[in-house]
């Protein structure tokens, strides 16, 4: 990549300036790279500044107002969400985890039970009990009362 850049700068700049044989000194070899870097910085700054020079600035209240797909902006940016939402999130996590872990477990259950025995069943039971504790908590908090 660097050599390509070097070659490119060589054809772009040096050949045009009539410099054919590069000096062996390291720092001199990198002059084209610095040239490109300098040009890049100059170009970026020039473009950023030129839009300020050539572009018209006519701020109006309409133009500076918040963009809401052309509608009048309503309310504030920091919209508050009811704390109740955490119960929904809890239910989601509980059932999500249940599905993710139980489904593959159930598919492979017969084979695993034949090979290992009851630990297959017990470990899942413990996992479910932990989950159901969370479920009970959310239930007692009134997570199923929707209104």
């Amino acid at each position: 990549m660097t050599s390509l850049l070097f070659k490119l700068t060589k054809c772009l700049f040096l050949d045009n300036f009539g410099i054919q044989n590069l000096s062996k000194s390291m720092i001199e070899q990198y002059i084209p790279v610095f040239l490109v870097l300098g040009f890049a910085v100059f170009f970026a700054v020039a473009v950023a500044l030129s839009s300020g020079i050539f572009g018209p600035q006519r701020p109006t209240t309409e133009k500076l107002s918040t963009y809401e797909s052309g509608m009048k902006p309503v309310g504030t940016t920091r919209e508050r969400i009811s704390v109740k939402y955490y119960l929904v999130a809890m239910f989601f996590i509980i059932f999500d985890l249940e599905v993710i872990f139980i489904y593959p477990w159930a598919v492979e259950f017969k084979r695993l039970f034949g090979e290992i025995g009851s630990p297959v069943f017990i470990s899942m039971l413990i996992f479910l009990i932990v989950l159901e504790l969370g479920y009970l908590y959310a239930y007692r908090k009134g997570g199923f009362k929707w209104d």
Binding site: N16, S50, F54, G55, P56, Q57, R58, T60, E62, K63, S65, Y67, S69, G70, M71
Partner: protein, 170 residues
């Protein structure tokens, strides 16, 4: 003489700031896709590889007016929507241009109705009217080229003291 040949032989080129700015402006017209109805499908088609609006530097459809120069109003504008269109136009930074795409947008089209604006030039300064119901993508590209010609003729600081068009908001 081509640019590369000239650079090889002389090593530099000369130009005016006006020419460079106009060249930059006309080749980077970023559209605001105001796709309100069926014309928007043709507008989308003009972005596909077959028609390829990117050849004209206008593939960057921006969904915020802050980065747009060109508003393509594609579709039937009802009185209710007119406020929205005008507001978005107002929120675009200067300089800006407008294409009225299709019959409905230009004149109300077949909707000679109580709720449809009979031409968006009632509340927007339209630069190009585009015939068709809906116009083919090539037609939209033609309109874009017309806009580019128009921009190419402007000078760098032409828009500095331009008064805002005094048009009634419906």
């Amino acid at each position: 003489m081509g640019l590369e040949a000239r650079l090889k032989s002389e090593g530099f080129i000369t130009s005016t700031v006006d020419a460079v700015v106009a060249w930059a402006r006309e080749n980077s017209v970023w559209p605001m896709p105001m796709g309100i109805s069926c014309c928007a499908i043709e507008m989308m088609a003009s972005g596909d590889p077959r028609y390829d609006i990117a050849r004209f530097g206008s593939e960057v459809m921006r969904f915020t007016p802050r980065q747009c120069d060109l508003m393509i109003v594609a579709g039937t504008v009802t009185y209710k929507m007119a406020h929205v269109v005008r507001k978005i136009y107002d929120q675009m930074p200067d300089p800006k241009w407008v294409i009225a795409m299709g019959a409905c947008t230009s004149s109300g089209g077949m909707y000679r109705s109580y709720n449809v604006v009979q031409g968006i030039d009632q509340f927007l300064p339209v630069d190009i009217y585009l015939a068709g119901c809906p116009p083919r993508p090539d037609n939209l590209l033609n309109a874009l080229m017309q806009i580019q010609n128009k921009i190419g003729k402007t000078k760098a600081r032409d828009f500095q003291d331009k008064k805002l068009p005094d048009l009634t908001v419906l």
